[in-house]
Amino acid sequence: MELTLWTYEGPPHVGALRIATSMEGVHYVLHAPQGDTYADLLFTMIERRDKRPPVTYTTFQARDLGGDTAELVKRSINQAVERFQPEALLVGESCTAELIQDQPGALAGGMALGGIPVVSLDLPAYSKKENWGAAETLYQLVRGLLKDQVPPPGTSAPSPQRWQQEGRRPRVNLLGPSLLGFRCRDDIREITGLLDRCGIDVAVVAPMGARPADLQRIPTADANVCLYPEIAAPVCSWLERSFGMATVRTVPIGIGATTAFVEELCGLLGLEAPQFDEPSRLPWYSRSVDSTYLTGKRVFIFGDATHAIAAAKIASQELGFQVVGLGSYSRELAREVRAAAKELGLEALISDDYLAVEKAMAEASPELVLGTQMERHSAKRLGLPCAVISSPLHVQDVPARYSPQMGWEGANVIFDSWVHPLMMGLEEHLIGMFRHDFEFVDGHRSHLGEGAPPQTGEKPAQATPEQTATGTPAQAATATLEGLVWSADGEAELAKIPFFVRNKVRRNTETYARERQLQVIDSETLYEAKAHLSR
């Protein structure tokens, strides 16, 4: 038993719903009580979908449990098939139905449904979660629809370069984009355009927008692109094993990753990678003088593995930030996240406890948080700027405008959406230059400084600029928790420092004083610490 207040992921059948709802022509009969119908609103409200998810819930009640719930499952299947005439049927159960063991998949298997492919889903609700459920559903669906096409063992793998003999352009499948994934809709368009400029066609995009017949065309492609490993890694591995299809696993988020992606894919297909002439503004924007203030900005990153790993690379290499925390709730991809963290000299936080994430965030004292909607709330409480980079989503993460994360345009979008929450560079310089002018009274905040200050400053290190500002330049000495004392002239000197860096200076000075086992911090200590730290 585990106490959960807010969760990053829903149960595994919600993952199955994401696959069914992302596709066309698929219907999902879910053996579940009425409360489980809440899942519809994830799609109709958060994703603002104009259609109901293609799911029939059996909505059994307590009084049905004494009778024949299996009969209810069969009736629901018959009615769903008759009404929706799906091209493929998914049959499964949610957590409660798993306990009553009606085995809806087996029941469906024994029914005459006019030859519709039926895929039975076995998603253990008490040990697995949403992304696992989505990946398993996509895998089972593809496997079920392709089982007659699997070549006999020993068949040699098709060459990814066979397009050259067949007199056509090379083509690949884009696997993994789904509803409730982060910006998948726009990533598909961006990557399709990118591939087109490389002379590569897209055969099948799945699950988003695909029909069952499209899944049956998967083997006609020369290679698979595993765009979102959380959803597509198992199916890509199976296609490798069973059909000998090669997989491109580089996720094209960021300039370096997009370049590597193009090189990997073109190399595999035997194609010369094209030269892109200034494909994205990110490299120039990052080199431009305005961006020097981004240097060393402390950034805390948490999200699904795909986006967190990509964000760490972009932040550290392409924007010159300092990554001070990296983690993910994707346990299935924990190894990859740990490896990415290790490269940055960090230990990855693998957790689905948002309070543990918030604690790590506070301890890392970042200047920018890149996270999910959960981290956005935590960052707001801590008074930190934040950009959302990953599911779980809020309706505002499904913007009307084109805003991919992948490819060249994705890099532009990332530059804007990560940098704007920080104070504008030149503005910060100007404030530094003119900080002694009377306009810069305490409490002035940038128009971009979003987020409410925390309710209480438990530790001095967390006191907000406003709270610090309310104290008059200290007459008496103030003590920190560890027994360090700020003398009156130390506090007075500190008060002269602009509020938006004051906490950082306070923290650094206290660290410096502790290291030297000083008891009292006066103005001299402050300047010594400044000199020491600027070396």
């Binding site: 585990e2 106490l3 119908t37 809440y38 609103l41 104009d50 109901r52 008490y126 959960m374």
Partner: protein, 439 residues
């Protein structure tokens, strides 16, 4: 029925005209009973407003990840660092042995209470999985109460979707509190059902002006300050979904006052008048306080009535407020009722509402969502009241909707809120007439 005769005695010219149109004896009702797929939240959802009502209480769902995800998704916002509700998620090991599950629950409760010392009442909320595996939360509550020695009161109820729909969760939570209510035969008016604090203050003040001094509420604002109950207690239900609570209070000696529910001017007036009359207030005194409110309320409704009058309304079953809303929207806003769906119909608690509905109103009980949507599409109503899962798809089909969940979060009770209540329904129609994408 007392309420409507009293209403007529109030001699209000405009409403009298409306009331005269109503039948003296209600004709047999057309009730369509449906069974099939239901598109309704389970009782766990009511935690979302109950926890706000009682800030010293914690609601611990004992269930699955689905339960946690449901409450989180229904609440819609995650603005609390540590909300006053959570889920004890059952794992495979808990399913393997119930003895372990009980130990685990005790451990988790103690950890929770250590972290949240301000909690005075802990509700253990049963879910579909906990009921199917027959985890006895009543016993668990008893056991924990013994162990915690009065530091915290532990109660239990079921919010499971196999037993309860949506608002019935509140009914079950209130029933769980009734045994702890002290016994007193002192005369008092007890308002049962969660109201917004400001609305409650207003209603208590109005009763006071009519001369009813002892007005108490269930649930109270502090979970530890439960009102007494006994032979002198007259119960007014503020919400129509409190069947079990009403029975439990009657069993404690209280008297249930039949009345329509305090939605709209007419319902609120009749409801308050019935409560005052039961407490022995003279009709003239009631009229002196309520007549100006009725007058003002009608003025507030008038502009929205212009938007709503003659429009056809279809209510899908959801919050159990549907009959009261239908009565308000047809009688005071002039809407035409196509179908009034309700998850279940308690004829006794809704007798006053059924009497006020226009003759021949099509009521449906239960749901077969696909067939009901077929009826919606055939009828082409001007406005559909429905849950969040259906609203955008219906809008995309060209049908205006009003989400019903807003009705359990917004202050809508009483004469003073009648204009706001009408506005909630008029807004989608006004918005449609505002929008234009033509060149």
């Amino acid at each position: 029925m007392g309420a409507s005769t009293l209403a007529e005695a109030m001699a209000n010219p405009m409403l009298d005209g409306v009331l005269d149109a109503g039948p003296e004896v209600a004709p047999p009702l057309e009730i369509l009973k449906e069974s099939g797929q239901r598109e309704v939240f389970c009782g766990l959802t009511s935690i979302v407003w109950l926890h706000r009502r009682m800030p010293d209480a914690f609601f611990l769902v004992v269930g699955s990840r689905t339960c946690a995800h449901l409450v989180q998704s229904a609440a819609g916002v995650m603005i609390f660092a540590e909300p006053r509700f959570g889920t004890a998620i059952l794992g495979e090991r808990d399913l393997a042995g119930l003895a372990d599950a009980n130990e685990e629950l005790d451990r988790l409760v103690k950890e929770l209470l250590a972290r949240r010392p301000e909690i005075r009442t802990l509700f253990l909320v049963g879910s579909c999985p906990s009921e199917v595996i027959k985890l006895d939360l009543a016993k668990a509550a008893e056991r924990l109460n013994r162990q915690l020695l009065g530091q915290v009161t532990v109660l239990n109820y079921s919010g499971s979707g196999i037993e309860t729909t949506f608002t019935q969760g509140e009914d079950q939570a209130l029933v769980a509190m009734t045994p702890l209510m002290p016994t007193s035969d002192e005369p008092q008016l007890l308002i049962a059902g969660t109201l917004a604090d400001a609305v409650e203050d207003r209603l208590v003040d109005l009763f006071g002006r009519m001369g009813v001094g002892a007005v108490r509420s269930l649930p109270p604002r502090r979970s530890t300050e439960l009102p007494p109950v006994g032979k002198g207690t007259k119960v007014l239900l503020a919400q129509p979904f409190l069947s079990a609570t009403a029975r439990a209070l009657i069993a404690r000696g209280a008297e249930l006052i039949p009345a329509p529910y305090p939605l709209g001017v007419e319902g609120s007036r009749d409801w308050m008048a019935a409560g005052a009359a039961a407490c022995g207030v003279a009709p003239a005194q009631v009229a002196a306080v309520l007549d100006p409110l009725v007058e003002r309320g009608r003025h507030a409704i008038a502009p929205h009535r212009e938007t709503l009058a003659g429009k056809r309304l279809f209510l899908l079953p959801d919050s159990q407020l549907e009959l009261s809303l239908a009565r308000f929207l047809s009688r005071e806003c002039g809407m035409e009722l196509v179908e009034v769906g309700t998850p279940y119909l308690d004829r006794q608690l809704l007798a006053s509402e059924l009497e006020l509905l226009p003759a021949g109103t099509q009521i449906s009980e239960g749901q077969d969502v696909e067939r009901q949507l077929d009826r919606v599409r055939r009828a082409k109503p001007d406005l559909v009241v429905c849950g969040l899962g259906l609203a955008n798809p219906l809008e995309a089909e060209g049908i205006a909707t009003k989400w019903s969940i807003e009705l359990v979060f917004s202050p809508i009770h009483g004469c003073d809120q009648a204009g706001d209540l009408a506005e909630l329904f008029a807004r989608p129609l006004r918005r449609r007439s505002l929008l234009s994408f033509a060149a």
